[in-house]
Every structure is written in C-alpha cells, then in structure tokens.
C-alpha cells in the first residue's frame, strides 16, 4: 500500500536539484526541462511569463545610475538572472497571486506579495545567492536572510503559505 504524505515545504519540480554529473545527468536534466517547458504553456504556469515580462520591464527601466535622484544603483544583471531563477523555482501548487516586482535602490530586485497593509511579504534578491526577506502578518513581523542555492529556501515558501492561508 502507498501512503500519501503532505509536503509542506516542497520545492517545485521546476527547481529540481542540479547536482548530477555526467552524460546521464545531462540527459535527465534536458528531459526534465522539456517537460517543464510543456507545463509552462498551460495557463497556470503561464503566469510566470507575466512575471518574467514584468521583471524585464523593471530591469530595463531601472538600469541607469541614480534612477531615483538620490544615488540609487542600477539593477544588476546578477540580480536579474537570480530573480529569473527564483521565478522558475516558484512552485505552482501554491497557486499564488502575481507578486509586484520592483527595484531596490541598492541594485537588487524586490518581489512583493501584498494582501493588505498588515499582511505583506517581500523578498529582495541580490544576485549573490542570498535572499533578504521581511513580512508583516498582522501584529507579527518576520525578517531574515537565506542562502539561495539550487532551490528556493523553504522559509520563503512557508511564509508565502502563511500569507495566503
């Protein structure tokens, strides 16, 4: 008999670990990428295209030095590509609304999920394999920094679930 177990902090199959080596591993990764590419034509995962488009807009619009008139740094390419990787890794099973993507004045990129003024989660992506996050959950607040390697930090997923639970 097979028993179904809940996985509360699962990362997406779109962000499977990429730690294999050799020809077989490359072929497997290629096959998985093809399958994921097929998924992304569906409407649900197609929302990631909207996020990628918004990210591209932000990257272009805020690519100049001092874009805020107060000495802001341009959005870095590293932050852009790391945000692309973050979007790719977002699990579709959470059925999240689209985040608002915006520039930080230190050249990083923020993704914000907003319910109301006291229920909001922000992740700030540096391009240096680290994610700063902060959230308000009613009277409670959280913040911290997580290493962003091959998959999304579970604490981010846990707090996204918390925001919309």
């Amino acid at each position: 008999m097979t028993m179904a177990m809940p996985c509360n902090v699962c990362t997406s199959i779109t962000s499977l670990l990429d730690i294999g080596m050799g020809t077989d591993s490359e072929q497997l990764k290629s096959s998985i990428d093809n399958v994921i590419g097929g998924f992304e034509t569906t409407q649900t995962i197609g929302s990631k295209d909207l996020m990628r488009n918004d990210l591209a807009r932000v990257f272009v619009e805020y690519s100049s030095q001092d874009w805020d008139g107060e000495g802001a740094l341009p959005i870095s390419k590293d932050a852009y590509f790391e945000t692309l990787r973050f979007i790719k890794g977002l699990p579709t099973y959470l059925d999240l609304p689209l985040p608002e993507i915006g520039p930080d004045n230190d050249g990083e990129i923020s993704l914000e999920w907003y319910r109301d003024n006291r229920h909001v989660l922000v992740v700030s992506i540096s391009g240096k394999n680290s994610i700063a996050y902060a959230g308000l959950f009613g009277a409670n607040k959280i913040y911290g920094t997580e290493y962003f390697g091959e998959s999304l930090p579970p604490i981010i997923l846990i707090n996204l679930r918390r925001l919309y639970s």
């Binding site: 932000v58 740094l73 004045n105 003024n117 700030s124 996050y133 913040y143």
Partner: protein, 139 residues
C-alpha cells in the same frame, strides 16, 4: 538654522517613482528605504498649507529630475517608535530633514520600512497642481 524636531510634528515623503506605491494608493516599503548614505529624505510639513507642501514637492521633484506622484505623510512619533531618528538639515529644499539611524542589516531595514509604509498612504498630487506628466490621479 533649522528648528529642533518636535515629536508631534508631521513629516512627508514625496513620492517620485511609480514603483513606490500600489494601484490602491497604499505605499510600498521602497518609498522609505534609506539611500546609500543611510538617510531617508523627508519634509517637515506641520504649520504650512497644502499648497506650500506641494510647492516644496514640486521643487524636490525638480531637483531629482523625477515626476511627482504624490506624498506619504507620517508623524515623527511613528518614526521614533521604530528606533530611528529625524534630523533637521539645512535647505535646500526648505523644511528638509533626514530619517537616520537605520540598521545595517537589510532585512531589518525592509521590515522597518514596511511598518512605516503600512502607517501611511499615498496622497496624490491634486489636479490643480501644475506638475507632473505622470500623475496617478489622472491614470
């Protein structure tokens, strides 16, 4: 010489970027994040008229070469309650002050900026104000 800050004064942060507020006129944390010098620029607005406030806002937008979308008013008390300080500075622009004392840690800065943002909202530039090409009240 600038007058000392009073706990009960009101401040405003002029909003000069469309990514600093949401469609429902709430304010995002980015509006209050400090610049690279660790300062968030604000204007002391107690005791002056709305027209005077918008005139200063137009001047701030001109200096920054940005459109003025509106402003986000907060009380000095709200800033001090987050272990930050408000320091008056010499003009220009007039009635200027800086919010300082931000922690080094970025997640903490975001968290504080989120709370400040949650305690205010966007007041759009009035129609009568001869400014910006991108006024959210006209979008």
């Amino acid at each position: 010489m600038s007058e000392p800050i009073n706990t009960f004064e009101h401040l405003t942060r002029f909003i000069v970027d469309r990514n600093y507020f949401r469609a429902n006129h709430t304010i995002k944390h980015q509006a209050f994040m400090p610049n690279r010098a660790g300062k968030t620029s604000v204007c002391r607005i107690s005791g002056i008229t709305d027209n005077q406030i918008w005139e200063i806002g137009a001047e701030v937008a001109r200096i920054r070469v940005k459109p003025l979308f509106g402003r986000a008013d907060i009380r000095v008390f709200n800033v001090l309650s987050k272990s930050l300080l408000v320091v008056p500075t010499n003009p220009p622009p007039i009635r200027h002050a800086d919010i300082v004392g931000w922690p080094e840690d970025k997640p903490k800065r975001i968290s504080i900026a989120q709370e400040l943002a949650a305690e205010t909202h966007l007041t759009p530039v009035p129609e009568s104000q001869p400014n910006p090409p991108e006024n959210p009240s006209r979008i």
